[in-house]
């Protein structure tokens, strides 16, 4: 019996990807191999390490624990989709990415895509976390290099960058009105 192939339309980072995959294709593999988005990393492939975390309709989920065929109705954001468009080909780092750069929040970078997506969603829910809350936010992701201290700092720094941007846009809006 030859394996059935499914035509699946994935919505990733605002683009549509038409892929032809067997039902057993994990979403993580579909993103990497079929969509060419290799930013999503695969560590354990059973839900434990968090490297493969993507946003599904804005909520962090393990892409290694979803089937691509089961992701048809969802809007998926990978680490590539976090970068903000500023007219340049490479785009501008998002606040969370900038914070990792500022605070040395990564070493080998293998775990980083999962942390970036998880923290991006975490700060939407809790824009001003305490240090304990920052630790709780990343508790489901493993990093073998950093010892987590600089990742916790990065969470707090990203919250700061967001707050600065908010304050600036409020001030700008105020000036326009004046």
């Amino acid at each position: 019996m030859s394996e059935q192939i499914h035509d699946v339309r994935l919505h990733v980072n605002g683009s549509v990807h038409e892929v032809r995959v067997p039902a057993r294709r994990l979403l993580s593999d579909a993103l990497r191999h079929d969509c060419g988005l290799t930013g999503t990393h695969v560590g354990c492939e059973h839900g434990v390490c968090g490297a493969c975390t993507v946003l599904v309709d804005g909520a962090p989920m393990r892409s290694c624990l979803m089937l691509a065929v089961s992701a048809v109705d969802a809007e998926i954001t990978t680490v590539e989709g976090l970068t903000e468009d500023d007219g340049t080909p490479q785009g501008r780092l998002s606040p969370v990415q900038q914070a990792f750069s500022d605070c040395h929040g990564l070493q080998c970078g293998f775990c980083t895509p999962g942390f970036l997506t998880t923290i991006t969603a975490g700060l939407e829910e809790n824009p001003d976390p305490t240090e304990d809350e920052a630790r709780e936010m990343i508790a489901g992701n493993l990093c073998r290099c950093t010892g987590y201290q600089n990742i916790v700092k990065s969470v707090l720094r990203a919250a700061e960058i967001n707050a600065e941007a908010d304050a600036k846009s409020k001030a700008d809006a105020g000036q326009e009105r004046a």
Partner: protein
Amino acid sequence: MKPAPFAYLRPSTLEEALAALAGEQGAKVLAGGQSLVPLLSMRLAAPSMLIDINALPDLGHVTCDEAGVRVGALARHAHVLASTEAAAAQPLVAMALANVAHPTIRNRGTTVGSIVHADAAAEMPMVLRLLEGSVDVASVRGRRTIPAAELFAGPLESTLAHDEIAVEAFFPALAPRAGVAFQEISRRHGDYALVGVAALVELEGDEVVRARLGYLSVSDVPVVVDVSGSLADPAGAALAELEPVDDIHATADYRAHLVRVLTPRVLAAATDHARQRMNA
């Protein structure tokens, strides 16, 4: 580690899903996939067909009334945990859910899926059993309600028939003079517990007149022990009925030790909770 091939169906009505399940002996239901997909990837399970219930309508509800909390088969752990009405009607549901995996897993995994998966190390099967809740299941043959006491047959084995889909779990509301508490010990927060204990107590005046304890991860099924008659040594009474198991995570002796440590703590916390609710 990749799953073996399987056929895939994503039905849009329950009737269609039930007919497909009844028609294929090797078929399995896919809900959140947070337990099933790892089993597929490790090839510990190799179903011939997956019936994905994620596109079925009307199963994502968390509804509350005086009787209790009803959780639909597609309500994710995170959604149930966020429901303030559910936490008010039966506080033990949220107390336990906060210990189920990490938020990322809770965003996808379903509470009903966790119950019918019947892992003795999982929180919600034990909670359903302690609260004397039930699960409603449907098949082409009709519907039935399975009381929690009859749901757990063995390790990872529920009493659902092969052709049945669980559509809803029911957690009874907490009675006015009652209190609950939950505690577990795990190596890291969010990991499966080495031992978890929940308590449900009822007061008359200031006296505990009924006390039941639920244990997860001690034996190979969730176990509930009535300690109303042995309040002087509830842990001793519980251990007389539990059969702590050895595995790579903990020895049987260590599990027995945790039962002795956690039992009085959880019982005291549930008693305090009941007193607070009576004075509120």
